[in-house]
Symmetry: C2
Subunit: 216 residues, 2 copies
Amino acid sequence: MILGSKLRTVRRSQGKTMQEIASAAGLSVGFVSQVERGIAVPSISSLRKLAAALEQPVGNFLEVSSESSQLTRSSERLPFTLGQNALTYERLSHSFGGSKLTALLIHEPPGHRTEPVSHEGEELFFVIKGEITVEVDEERVILRTGDSYHFDSTRTHCTWNHRTEVATLLWCGTMDVFGSSEIESPHQIPEKMARSSRVSPLYHVRMSTNFQEDKT
Amino acid sequence: MILGSKLRTVRRSQGKTMQEIASAAGLSVGFVSQVERGIAVPSISSLRKLAAALEQPVGNFLEVSSESSQLTRSSERLPFTLGQNALTYERLSHSFGGSKLTALLIHEPPGHRTEPVSHEGEELFFVIKGEITVEVDEERVILRTGDSYHFDSTRTHCTWNHRTEVATLLWCGTMDVFGSSEIESPHQIPEKMARSSRVSPLYHVRMSTNFQEDKT
DNA sequence: TTGAGATTTTAGTAATATTAAAATTCTGAG
DNA sequence: CTCAGAATTTTAATATTACTAAAATCTCAA
């Protein structure tokens, strides 16, 4: 039972006893023991209490993890182009069961501008090279090389490159952009993303129906 | 009741009837109706079935979102040094209610090596400059500039800088490293982190009891 | 207005979520 | 190695409720 063993792993990594957690959650120690060993299953309400006692989002205990890792080589990543105003991105992260982290390397051309949008999750921009302007809830911030900006994506936000050179950004966020499908071909990814409304840097682009692989 | 109304919102946005969802989930229509209106609460097992029928991660129906954002300037970030073998890091992310994303800019000196460790969450390394070796479950990979590596942190992992120059890494992960305390002073952070066993790049370091702010 | 499909309501009961307390195991100091 | 206290597991229960089937009501297009 994944749920119980995850609870135990987290609790132990925090160095807390079952008694401490049970007490903080308002549940009995015996019950916590049975839950951790998969003998009992908590109600959603009790699980929320346990998650709160462990200071974790509930989802951490419910998603299925599998063992996986993914290396992406700079030389092997396929750049993708979206729209006519050639935003280019490379995927750094990949999906495995329960994974929440998505990371992209984005090349944002001069004058490129995204539409204001809001959606679930949180995200962070780190500027590797160049400058962009970020607007969150109508508050504007200029990000220069080395700067970062982390915000809750439920707030209305957009970005643009106000300079004359391409900006290179590392974007990471906590929404699953690509689904659990593995990369089979470049064309599979853009189609999936065309339907996605959750990808902050990509959703903003008024996408044409044709996507092409960037041959550079 | 957030859970039920989220289920209804998603179902309607997919244009599906309750009967379709109930059938796909193997539950009765009457129960789905009661759950959506908050009259009944599903077990975790039933919620998984409903989430699967709606093709959503379970966590979507359980998490609460909140609002905040944080800018970090390259010129204003305080570098922190851990241990004698001077690993230096800068914090890019910050904490707000429900946030899961942590990001650090790490300067890993030549010969620096971390202890093998496993813990909750997932993480991704992106090499901005230099090279490091990453070992996950005894599988070794060399990461060069521009490469990235994303893996589940429950797998035993460690890293080291096998070169003669400092490596600059962007590390992001889904565990809350710093807690919900805001940055008050540089010394507050290192003490908090000294107690934390959850910070993959930092936990590995055999930390001395004295932490100093890097004056460079 | 009618009728088919969708949703809500009702009345139940088998299952189980969760407990208190006893038993067992673990841990660390001496 | 021993032992006491802390931590965890086990046991036996029961109040609660998760979920059902079927009837009633609502909705909407023709």
